[in-house]
Point group: C2
């Protein structure tokens, strides 16, 4: 960053995995840096052509080495269970000054998978932009997906300050608001605020009787919206953050048992208090 | 209906309980019948003045008798636990030809509470418009709340055909799409598609740790939206439809135990199938 003007950085970035998130990173960077050059990794020529024809990338290739050559930043935006290997590969094929970051919804397993090799950990600043949709694929990518959204960075103790500073600058260019925490804090919080709620929403959809569906109102539709998400992505998240999610599901089961007891006791005052407490938390979150 | 032109009916309606739903009935009827006269029941003069100043009603009173006098239709839009008594009182104070209907989210207890007195049951056609919001109060009422929304009518075997026909006509004037089922079918379906999901959404909000709230994304916000609903209204719904809701909460607990077992087994293929089944139901509902 020292040799080029701040408003010229990054001149070239690489997106490994140009789906909803990777595509939105590309579009938001083009918005902030109109002259930027964007390389994308595509698993076949047809997908690569689609990405170029639709202005998501300027250059598409099937090999990580070619994709990462000369890039200032590499963003790994694959499903979580492939992120670590792509980070290691990107570190090998990118210039010394390159920042590598990712979009994974889990962090501890990725950090563990990347390992402590200094050549990799010197370049990599893990990130999780809290943005997304039940939709997936580059056709849903938008330049505004990250605007005003929280982006959690989970640097290691030995992350070079300059790389961490670049990671903040990069994610702010997407429109995001960066913050820092440890991978473990991240995974615990996300299990509670995202992963468990996702599974509960899917559960509600799963046990809804077909006969009742025509009576679905806006409540059911909103509660179950995320259940339309990609099962492959979510099975991978569950696998990567298993322990924290299991803890949250236990809390869910315990609270459900308390609720059932309130119903069995026909204790309307206590049920009212229970609902009021839930409302309190909901309202304070707004 | 026989003595007046169809497009002049109803000439006057009464709304007992002018909140979000009752106010929206009033506004939608004014949209369909600009010359209509609307009477409202308000618990005090200040509320009555608010309703008149804001064009929700043309006349406001604190007594059911005065409110129902000369009305063609009386809509009872109070919390569910007060509906039955208001229906009985409205039957007593309204003209012979009057249709009485309601907006209650539960039906069996209301029908039981109204009883089998022929003077009442001849006038009353229970209804539940599947429309609403986590917001409450007349300030959120809109003329379009019922547009395209399902309105479930639960007539009794001895409901006079002319009254049932009027109930269809009335709810269609609000913009709703009417259908018929038994009170028991209604309550079973609604426990599954509305009441249990509401409680589960509140549960997710209730157990969310404060520290995780800053990381809430659109998923958590949608899943928990209804948790901001009025605890008094929902405690009453739970009390009125206790048995059906208890059944649904048992199904929820059983499915949650299955999910926890999938997580404990680290059986990713089965977890993927579980998520895919949830997605299937969600997508088919759209």
């Amino acid at each position: 960053m020292s040799t080029i003007a701040e408003n010229e950085w990054p001149r070239q970035i690489t997106v490994l995995g140009v789906g909803l998130l990777g595509g939105s990173v590309a579009l938001s960077l083009k918005r902030a840096r109109p002259k930027i050059r964007i390389h994308g990794l595509a698993r076949n020529a047809a997908k690569g052509k689609y990405l170029m024809d639709n202005g998501l990338v300027d250059f598409s290739t099937g090999t990580v080495g070619e994709a990462c050559q000369n890039s200032d930043v590499v963003v790994v935006a694959s499903p979580v269970d492939r992120i670590a290997e792509l980070v290691v590969s990107a570190a090998e094929h990118s210039p010394d000054h390159c920042l590598i970051t990712d979009v994974g919804s889990t962090k501890q397993q990725i950090v563990a998978g990347v390992g402590s090799d200094s050549g990799v950990s010197r370049k990599f600043v893990p990130a999780h932009p809290i943005a997304g949709s039940e939709k997936s694929g580059p056709e849903h990518a938008t330049s505004s997906l990250f605007d005003g959204k929280r982006v959690v960075l989970t640097p290691a103790e030995n992350t070079p300050p300059e790389q961490l500073q670049k990671a903040h600058a990069f994610w702010q260019l997407t429109g995001g608001q960066t913050c820092e925490m440890t991978p473990s804090e991240h995974d615990t919080h996300l299990a509670a605020i995202s992963h468990m709620p996702h599974l509960v929403a899917a559960l509600v959809a799963k046990i809804t009787p077909t006969e009742a569906l025509p009576l679905a109102g806006s409540g059911w539709r909103d509660i179950t919206r995320v259940a339309a998400g990609d099962p492959t992505l979510w099975a991978a998240i569950c696998s990567e953050n298993r322990e924290a999610i299991e803890n949250e599901l236990k809390k869910t089961a315990d609270e459900l048992e308390r609720l059932r007891q309130l119903m069995r006791d026909a204790n309307d005052a206590d049920l009212h208090r229970w609902l009021a407490e839930a409302k309190e938390i909901k309202i304070h979150s707004a």
